[in-house]
C-alpha cells in the first residue's frame, strides 16, 4: 500500500479452491501452481515453520527485488523506496511473506476493461487466469488466517 500510490498488480482466479469446482468447468482446470488455495497454504506452511529453504519465498524475494529495480527505473518509485523494498526482502522476516487473500468484486473491474484474461500460453494449465495491473486498495478486501 505504501508504494506506487497503492496500486497492486495481481494474478487472480475465479475460485479459491479449483478442486471444489464442477468437474467439467474451466475453474476446475486451474493448475495447482495457480490455485489460490495451494499458494496460500504453501506459503502459510513455510512461514509457520520458518522454512529457510522455501522455494516460494526465495522466488518472491527475487521477484520483489526485480520489480523494485524496474519500478525505480520507470520512475514509479524513488531510490529511497527502492532501497526500502530491497532491504526489507533481504531480511529474515517471516511477517512480510505471510499469505493474504484478496477478495475482489469482479463486475466493476471487468466493466472498466481492467480484468485481463491471461493468454493460454502464459497459463499453467487450461483453467482461466486473470490479471489486474492497477488494483486499488479500495477495490478489494484482505483476509488473513487459516481456511478449511
Amino acid at each position: 500500500m505504501r508504494y506506487r500510490h497503492g496500486r497492486h498488480y495481481v494474478w487472480c482466479s475465479e475460485v479459491y479452491d479449483p478442486t471444489t469446482a464442477a468437474a467439467a468447468s474451466p475453474a476446475a482446470a486451474v493448475a495447482p501452481s495457480s490455485s489460490p488455495k495451494e499458494l496460500f497454504e504453501r506459503l502459510r506452511r513455510d512461514c509457520d515453520a520458518e522454512e529457510r529453504h522455501s522455494d516460494a519465498i526465495r522466488r518472491y524475494r527475487r521477484r520483489f527485488k526485480q520489480l523494485a529495480a524496474e519500478w525505480h527505473a520507470a520512475r514509479e518509485i524513488t531510490e529511497l523506496q527502492r532501497d526500502e523494498i530491497v532491504a526489507t526482502v533481504n531480511q529474515t522476516s517471516w511477517n512480510i511473506w505471510r499469505p493474504q487473500l484478496y477478495v475482489i468484486a469482479r463486475a466493476p473491474i471487468e466493466s472498466a476493461g481492467r480484468l485481463i484474461h491471461v493468454p493460454i500460453k502464459e497459463r499453467a494449465a487450461y483453467g482461466l487466469e486473470f490479471r489486474i495491473h492497477d488494483l486499488r486498495p479500495e477495490e478489494f478486501v484482505i483476509i488473513e488466517g487459516t481456511f478449511p
Partner: protein
C-alpha cells in the same frame, strides 16, 4: 557487471537487468521499454548462461532457475542499499518495520513485576511482538498535542483449552531504530476487561487501566490512563495517591506500578510522558492468580 550493461547508468542497467529476469517467468513487467532492448536482453542472457555453464538451448526448469539466480546476483550488485541498517531504521521511525525484525529489550520493571515467572513472560512478550494479531504504531511526529510518538503496541491472543485461562497479551514499547524497549506487558483476560468495540490497542490499554489502575495526575490531566501529558518545567511529575478508598473498608495502601514513556516532543522540545498507567499490582496479581496465570 555484464559487459553489455556497462554503457548504461546504474539505474537504467538495473531496469534492463530486472526486466530480463522478470521475462524468464513470463512476468509482463519484463516487457521491453527501451529501443533495441531485445538485442541487449539477448546479450545479457547469453553472457549469464555462458558464465554459469548453462547451455543456451536448455529450457529445463533447473536451467532457468540457475539463470534466474545468476541474474539476481548481478542485480543485487547494482541495487543493494549501501547501509541496510539505516534503511530499516527509517522504516522503524515511520512504524513500518516488520515487527519480527525488532530487537526486543524489556525494562527491569517488567522483570520485577513478574518475578519468577519472567522467563515465561519474556517468551510471551517476544512472541507477541514477533507474530502479533494486531499492531498500532505512532510515527515520529505527533499529529495532535499530547499524542505519543515512536511508540508501538502489539496484541496477541493466547487461547487455552480452559476458557478462563485464555488471554490477550498487550505489549507496548518505545522504538529506538530497530530496538524496541518494552515497558508495558499486560495479560488481558476477556472476563476482566471488556474489549467489545475497542477500536485501537490504545483503547485496550485504556480499558485495562480502567479496570486495574488507580487515579493519578500528570501535569493538568487526571485519570486512570493518560495518553500523553506535557511538563514544560522538566520531567513530568506523576502524582498517585498511595491509598485508595475501598467501599466499607475505608482507605487501604496499594502497591502501584507506574508505567509510561518519557519522551521529548520533537516539535516543541518539551518533555512529555506517554501512555501513562498506574496499576494496582495486588489487584492485577490476584487476577493473574485467579486465571491460573501465577
Amino acid at each position: 557487471m555484464i559487459s553489455v550493461l556497462e554503457q548504461f547508468d546504474k539505474v537504467t542497467a538495473a531496469g534492463i537487468l530486472a526486466r530480463a529476469a522478470l521475462s524468464i517467468e513470463g512476468n509482463p513487467a519484463g516487457d521491453y521499454r527501451l529501443p533495441d532492448e531485445a538485442s541487449i536482453r539477448e546479450a545479457i542472457l547469453r553472457e549469464a548462461m555462458v558464465a554459469r555453464g548453462i547451455d543456451p538451448n536448455d529450457q529445463r526448469p533447473e536451467a532457468l532457475e540457475m539463470l534466474s539466480e545468476a541474474l539476481d546476483g548481478e542485480l543485487e550488485a547494482l541495487i543493494a542499499p549501501r547501509d541496510s541498517k539505516q534503511v530499516l531504521e527509517r522504516l522503524s521511525s515511520r512504524g513500518e518495520l516488520p515487527s519480527d525484525l525488532f530487537e526486543v529489550e524489556i525494562v527491569p520493571q517488567v522483570e520485577e513485576l513478574y518475578g519468577s515467572r519472567f522467563r515465561l513472560e519474556k517468551k510471551l512478550i517476544e512472541t507477541t511482538v514477533r507474530t502479533p494479531d494486531r499492531e498500532q504504531h505512532y510515527g515520529p511526529h505527533p499529529s495532535v498535542p499530547n499524542e505519543p510518538f515512536l511508540v508501538s503496541l502489539f496484541f496477541k491472543f493466547f487461547p487455552n483449552e480452559y476458557p478462563a485461562r485464555s488471554f490477550g497479551m498487550l505489549v507496548g514499547g518505545q522504538r529506538y531504530g530497530i530496538r524496541l524497549a518494552v515497558h508495558h506487558a499486560w495479560h488481558i483476560y476477556p472476563t476482566d476487561v471488556d474489549l467489545k468495540g475497542a477500536e485501537t490497542l490504545v483503547d485496550v490499554l485504556r480499558r485495562f487501566a480502567d479496570r486495574f489502575g488507580v487515579e493519578m495526575t500528570v501535569g493538568k490531566q487526571k485519570g486512570k490512563f493518560i495518553l500523553g501529558g506535557e511538563a514544560p518545567g522538566g520531567l513530568p511529575s506523576i502524582q498517585v495517591s498511595p491509598t485508595i478508598d475501598v467501599p466499607s473498608h475505608g482507605k487501604k495502601k496499594v502497591n502501584i506500578s507506574i508505567t509510561c514513556f518519557y519522551q521529548r516532543n520533537p516539535n516543541t522540545n518539551v518533555n512529555h510522558a506517554a501512555l501513562v498507567t498506574a496499576i494496582d499490582l495486588q489487584k492485577y496479581r490476584a487476577a493473574l492468580k485467579a486465571h491460573g496465570g501465577l
